[in-house]
Symmetry: C2
Subunit: 238 residues, 2 copies
DNA sequence: GCTCCTTTGTACGCCAGCGCACACAAAATG
DNA sequence: CATTTTGTGTGCGCTGGCGTACAAAGGAGC
């Protein structure tokens, strides 16, 4: 049970990897590999889309930003997806913020070229449609989850989703950053981090999270994780 | 400031109404006008899409259903949209539940025909892409709203969105039903209904809501309403 | 080694909203 | 007109999570 897959086309990104060779050839020369650092901004609310990104080892977050500056995560995007779906859907400007959450590499494509290559349908368009559907599920579930589930449950969900998208069982995220994603207090996250450590599910020191007991985490999470996960698996299996 | 618009093609639904005549002619013979009653189920989680719906006077809700049966609203769909977007996006089965929230009429189209007519792009496909983008914004904002805002604010948002989608200033919804949509207690909604009435913003007796002071409601709501509203207006102006 | 900064641990008072329970009124039904 | 159902008003104790504050524990640089 993992989102990782053997590169077939030399791409780890599942969307690119899922393209048939001719479609990939058309796209290939427009793709540029870029390295993203933690907190790099990929899109800003109200700003035009210049590029979209297909994460390889990097991972991004979609954030809603409120007037007072508060921002919370509404979706996370790793190698299973693309950052900038609205550009494909015909939006000229981003409605949300997108930032790099875990540093790494991604393939960058100009928004204009994306539109050009998907304008009349085709395999890339089909893949992005399916991805859009998966993203809908992720957001819908998060809306419900945010309303009904405890911070502890949601924190477990977050750790699991991140674990799915990174290499290995270890990644870097501070309580502070995580609390912002979850829309909670930093000290609330600290308490939960303590609970999860004492339960032997993770180890967590100074930003260094290690997943020790995935099964246990899945039990401690709400059903939302499994629902989203299943949807991604079934839609992007193709 | 209203989502309503003069029918150009004899359709109140803004997507159908926005189609150029040739595209509309192709679609027309496959559309069947249906009357929907409150709480009619349009799609069920896990079940195949047979039809999609373009509401005229009816209004629908998209709900996430949890294992324990709890369901909460993740989006509402009126004449500005279509129920069953995932069918257009290539999903065979619905991931969520869709029900009729306000009775009325809608144009029904078979999911297969929708796919056929949008397969290679075209005006309907373009419109649905833009609508998908608007729906993303609605869901993203709701996820944030559910996390950060009070029930009172969210209740005002809900009333405003509904007001935008129905004829006139009056509609029917019980505290019980509203509380389910908001993911709150029935008695919590009752208290807030009282507050809003005492403030002269609405009148509300036995399911009969009348919007008395829209401006006031907009002030009592969080910014989420305005954000979603602006996005819909700008994307569907076309 | 010492200093500074980031990150974490912990505590305390507070309140929005929950779960539950019960009473009552208006409408529907027989 | 009596009875049942549906919808509303209200109260009470409880708790998850907030806002805030402060101190301690790594690390990074000098």
């Amino acid at each position: 049970m993992t989102l990782r897959s053997k590169p077939k086309n030399g791409f780890r990104n599942r969307l690119l990897n899922g393209l048939p060779p001719p479609a990939l050839r058309r796209l290939r020369k427009h793709l540029k590999e870029v390295t993203l650092s933690r907190r790099d901004s990929l899109h800003e609310p109200g700003k035009p889309f210049r590029f979209v990104y297909f994460p390889e080892t990097a991972m991004a977050s979609l954030l809603t930003v409120l007037k007072d500056g508060t921002q919370t995560e509404v979706a996370s995007i790793g190698r299973e997806g693309m950052v900038g779906l609205p550009a494909f859907l015909g939006a000229k400007r981003s409605a949300r913020r997108a930032i790099c959450q875990m540093p790494g590499t991604a393939w960058r494509l100009s928004a204009a070229e994306l539109v050009r290559q998907t304008h009349r349908g085709g395999p890339l368009s089909d893949l992005l449609h399916r991805y859009a559907q998966a993203l809908f599920t992720q957001m819908a579930q998060l809306a419900t989850c945010n309303r009904l589930h405890t911070i502890e449950q949601r924190c477990c969900c977050w750790l699991l989703m991140t674990h799915d998208r990174v290499e290995g069982d270890e990644f870097y995220v501070t309580h502070e950053f995580l609390s912002e994603m979850l829309g909670a207090r930093r000290s609330g996250v600290t308490v939960i981090a303590g609970t999860l450590q004492r339960a032997g599910l993770i180890s967590y020191t100074r930003g260094r999270v290690t997943i020790l007991d995935r099964r246990g985490l899945e039990k401690a999470a709400c059903e939302c994780y499994a629902i989203v996960r299943r949807e991604f698996d079934s839609l992007l299996r193709a």
